[in-house]
Symmetry: C2
Subunit: 203 residues, 2 copies
């Protein structure tokens, strides 16, 4: 029986990247998330327009993201986990945003989306690899014979958490924890590690 | 368009692990490969019996494998590749054999098989995650929206090389190169890197 752990990125291992960009660039409009604007496509088009208005290229944004540090203990958690089992990060972020963060995490494998960048370095659009990427990725890994363990913090993680053999909430807001009483919820890496080890050893 | 590179392990990034074990433990029977015994199940049962006869536990074997170094340049190739795109190693080796080698390669993600170990530490059996694992894994990654680039050195890599969007032979024997004139064949990492970069940049 072989396992693979699918981990969310933002909120679970690193801070929310758009918030970090908003704060570092001092652009409050970029703090708007799917909580305020549930239409993700509309939200992304607004973000892209805002970046353009402020003249921010992908290189400028990557400089900001280079200052984003993993959450305290996240790198150590991931380092230990990678010695125990296979790990893939499943995220709705973009390859161009993920890169500086992946470097700090020791280049784990990440399945995420991509921004479309024009010749001048401006973000013009975004591309999903597939619809419902976290759910589809877990299913795909299962089809290769893995038992999937999933952990994440938000609504977009629930499809992978619920389809996985074992699923956990990590750093989730109270409302999500309350809506999902059947999913064990943790807010420290030692707790999450202990729960994963229980699944790995079949206890 | 997002890519993922699927790399074979033994022959492609590290030496053949069974050969290293045979030589280090001075057990010539363990040098027999699928070239001499094409029935893989029969070969594995013979290997397991030989290990038992010589009293070699999985801990003994792992000590030997800890001395196996990546092929010259393999770590540097993989380090650069992981900054450019996503990478998964697809191997027919076993998790217990892979671990010491993965540590030397910086813990890339690996999809492979597993040995069954008894309470005394002896190998008693082996488990495939799935039939035709390399082919199935490439198909699964494609189902999540990735364009797959594959590279390997031997017969068991041909299914993934042929189903991938782009496939390459790396360090392959002359016979395999001759039988597959449509597959570009390389024997240095800079050559393989250049071919992968061409696919990544769409040139």
């Amino acid at each position: 029986m072989q396992h693979i752990v699918c981990l969310d990125l933002e909120g679970t291992l690193v801070p929310e990247i758009w918030i970090a960009v908003a704060d570092a660039a001092n652009i409050p409009e970029l703090r708007v998330t799917t909580r305020e604007e549930p239409d993700y496509d509309k939200l992304m088009k607004m973000r892209i327009a805002t970046l353009r208005e402020h003249g921010l290229t992908i290189a400028d944004i990557q400089k900001v993201i280079a200052g984003v540090e993993p959450l305290p203990g996240a790198k150590e958690f991931l380092d230990e986990l990678r010695t125990l089992t296979q790990v893939v990060i499943l995220s709705d972020t973009f390859t161009q945003f993920a890169k500086p963060v992946m470097e700090k995490l020791g280049w784990p494998t990440i399945f995420c989306n991509a921004l479309v960048i024009d010749g001048e370095g401006f973000v013009t659009d975004y591309e999903y690899r597939v619809q419902n990427p976290k759910y589809v990725s877990v299913r795909a890994l299962e089809s290769t014979g893995f038992q999937v363990i999933a952990a994440g913090d938000s609504h977009n993680d629930l499809p992978m958490i619920k389809v996985a053999k074992a699923g956990f909430l990590m750093n989730a807001p109270e409302a999500i924890i309350a809506e999902n009483p059947d999913v064990p919820a943790f807010n420290t890496y030692p707790q999450l590690m202990a729960a994963i080890k229980e699944v790995l050893t079949g206890e």
